[in-house]
Symmetry: C3
Subunit: 341 residues, 3 copies
């Protein structure tokens, strides 16, 4: 499969420093803001270690219980987390439907959090309400992961995006990153799409790896393209940012094309960039890669699946290993998987 590069190159490029992983013990993961460059690199290294040898650590989470609470419908993200947890030997309790829960009867989220403390060792929460996480955190004594909160953030998706990027070009993680820096084009609306918001926050921690960031959008959203201070933050990080409304004119300059047409808005979703789509005829650079958080709509043609541009399948596959890495650290089992303790 295209994009299924061996993770060993990335494993070799990053030197292990387990302290960054141990620091994640019992930490809530709410926003991509929280991560440092080194913290992310160590997670990518651990993910690569898992991916290079999937069966080696099959009992790291034995005896641990995950509460998988998906109050907003999702199969892909839920199964990705649940697969990660099961592959490490842990047990899972799932909530797949808000209507079957006490929340439907009016229970407050602080009480739900108190309940979760008694029942599990870690919570994965998806909710269309941006503030749900914050309402629970004060009462939680076990760590929680934000698996998408409304149109706010989806930090583990961004980690999976960067993990794919760095597997493709491990040299971007090194001191020489600047010599290999890439142009990243994002088709979407940074102001409204949680995947894009989290991705941008994560990219800010790797300014040397990014030659230029191009936001490709249609005219209708140009006013609200960026959230307040979002553009300024990118520039302050030292990353050159520009916008474009002409996809095909832009593509020949782009090394990494990130496309995602779904934007969650409260209880529903909209699609942006209907005017934009990629197919095998798009004027992509010969060695450009495409990333997409999936599920895809018509914006990404299947005739790209069998081209070397397809790194979105590798990205989806890597997301499981990335989540294995993060979950291991959060529930204080990092010491079981670090090589040198």
């Amino acid at each position: 499969m295209c994009g299924d590069a061996h993770p060993k190159a990335l494993l070799r490029a990053i030197q292990e420093d387990g302290d960054y992983l141990l620091k994640l013990a019992n930490q809530h993961i709410v926003s991509s803001d929280q991560f440092t460059q080194n913290g992310m690199l160590q997670l990518f290294r651990l993910a690569a270690k898992y991916e290079a040898n999937p069966r080696r650590f099959s009992t790291s989470l034995q005896g641990k219980i995950l509460i998988s609470a998906f109050y907003e419908p999702s199969t892909r993200t839920r199964l990705s987390f649940e697969s990660a947890w099961h592959r490490l030997g842990g047990d899972i309790m799932s909530i797949t439907d808000r209507s079957t829960t006490g929340i439907a009867k009016g229970e407050c989220l602080a009480d739900v959090a108190e309940m979760f403390n008694n029942y599990g060792d870690c919570v994965v929460l998806r909710d269309n309400n941006e503030s749900s996480l914050e309402e629970m955190i004060d009462s939680l004594r076990i760590p929680i992961i934000n698996a998408g909160n409304g149109c706010d953030e989806h930090p583990t998706q961004a980690l999976a995006d960067l993990y794919a990027l760095f597997k493709w070009k491990p040299e971007l993680t090194t001191a020489d990153a600047k010599q290999h820096a890439v142009s990243v084009g994002i088709i979407g609306v940074p102001n409204r799409m949680r995947t894009v918001r989290s991705l941008i926050k994560s990219l800010l921690k790797f300014p040397d790896a990014i030659k230029e960031l191009v936001i490709i959008h249609d005219d209708s959203v140009s006013e609200h393209l960026f959230a307040e201070q979002q553009r300024e933050q990118i520039e302050q990080a030292g990353i050159h940012v520009r916008t474009s409304t002409d996809l095909n004119a832009t593509l020949p300059d782009i090394d990494v094309v990130y496309i995602n047409a779904i934007s969650w808005e409260g209880e529903t979703f909209n699609t942006y960039g209907k005017s934009f789509s990629l197919d095998a005829q798009s004027p992509l650079k010969e060695d450009a890669i495409i990333l997409h958080p999936l599920a895809r709509g018509p914006e990404l043609a299947t005739d790209l699946d069998h081209t070397p541009h397809n790194w979105y399948f590798s990205q989806a596959r890597g997301a499981v290993f990335l989540r294995m890495a993060l979950l291991t650290c959060m529930v204080q089992r990092a010491e079981r998987v670090i090589d040198v303790v």
Copy 2:
């Protein structure tokens, strides 16, 4: 956390007698009527043993499968049972929605029971239909637990209630109980609330521990406050019972306040005692404790959460260990966790 007293005191107060636990092997748990004082004490002792050392028995249910059948929506009770089962190393199959089942197609419960025989080792059933359990039991060759059947009973909730009570005051389990006897106030309707019905049945087995039982209710239900014979049974057990419609006048005499405002009625629920609520300004005895089966509504103010009156969080936490104890015995694994065999 308030109420998070160490269970070791209770563990020390009760002498182990494994025979009572072995007798629960393959027993159906339908009603709080079924338990004897000694049977309950041994369950509380085992629960305390689990709670005192949560990681010690993580494989007691290995190879056993729980069928978690919640035909009436619930997250709290479902996850409490599922967490109990997983913490002991067992596997689970969940039914969280009646509409996805054969019952929706008109399958009779005796056939569902026959199916369950083939698929698992124990059933937890919640159903809004009072008679569902009885319809299944004749065909079942594996044990079933009643996790709430309409407005009838919820026996494991009552066990969890008493477990919290006795952790708070272990001396109530001893031969000296009478010297330490407490006044118990129940805000609710014994005739209509399954939690209250089961609690009263359980309290009847500990008459020495109860100085007085006060039912606090509003005027509108006074006619139907008790089910037929319910009041007579309390008195026959030797427990003094009185009723009151004035919460605040009653509270200064009460050691244990039990409050629960939800009453299940067929497919829906009502709230009783809207006129009653507890908060940090309520005239509670200084050392009174509050129990509540949760989820809570406005009847229990959150400003009590950080007071020493809050034993409801400990009660919820303990419910997992209590259920671990009961499930272990039902599926014939008690001999693995009894100290002296």
Copy 3:
């Protein structure tokens, strides 16, 4: 229980030949067409080995993850597969409701398949759409089982049917089968019922065991009783086939009565043969057995449950062991359970 004959007789009747089981490694199970006589016999033998000693192989699927995807509502079949998987020590991720999935958002099945590749080791799929399996298979790198696709097929049900038949009369699996051949009566519509379609395809592989196949149907469907070529295929296999619209006139000649009144049609179902029903007064041969895939409706009276005709409960129980056998082989763990390797 009637029909709960010891599987050891079947185990003795079939000689082990592990090669047939090893060949199932990583195979998709779509249709009953796929199986050979020897392949089925070896599966029945392994199922009998599991059933004769249910606790012996409790870790054969350790570390393996099942994706249990039931887009069409079902509890019985879902729990049967999930129980089979858990009894062998594997982990499970369940999808019980199409509305919570990406498919509801328009995701194509090829992408769902790609997702499943990353998350699990085997897929069980039930869908009311006949073509769903075919749409996924090209993209799947892990094996998939058809657990009912519209009104097309349900091959593991047919395997369970034959497993029950051969447990009842192990001599039908031997070289002497012809001397013991039985008359099989099927109440239903071969053209429209997936269970019947798959059963007939499976019976075709055992022509020596079948003296006669009688299709019992009501007049209203006689035109569309058989699918194109279906009747011809039966006859070409050397099995005599006839039809009847008079159940009671036919019963005295029948050794094995197969009844199933539900027929899936798109998103809904119809019942056929309302005019036909079996009860303890039906003119059954003294030693005739009844098979029914369950759940049952009024066509099968419960007064038969405690008669020796009842092999449908044994059939349901055996289905779990049959599925254990098949799943073990598909995920390449057969070598762990074959006696001689």
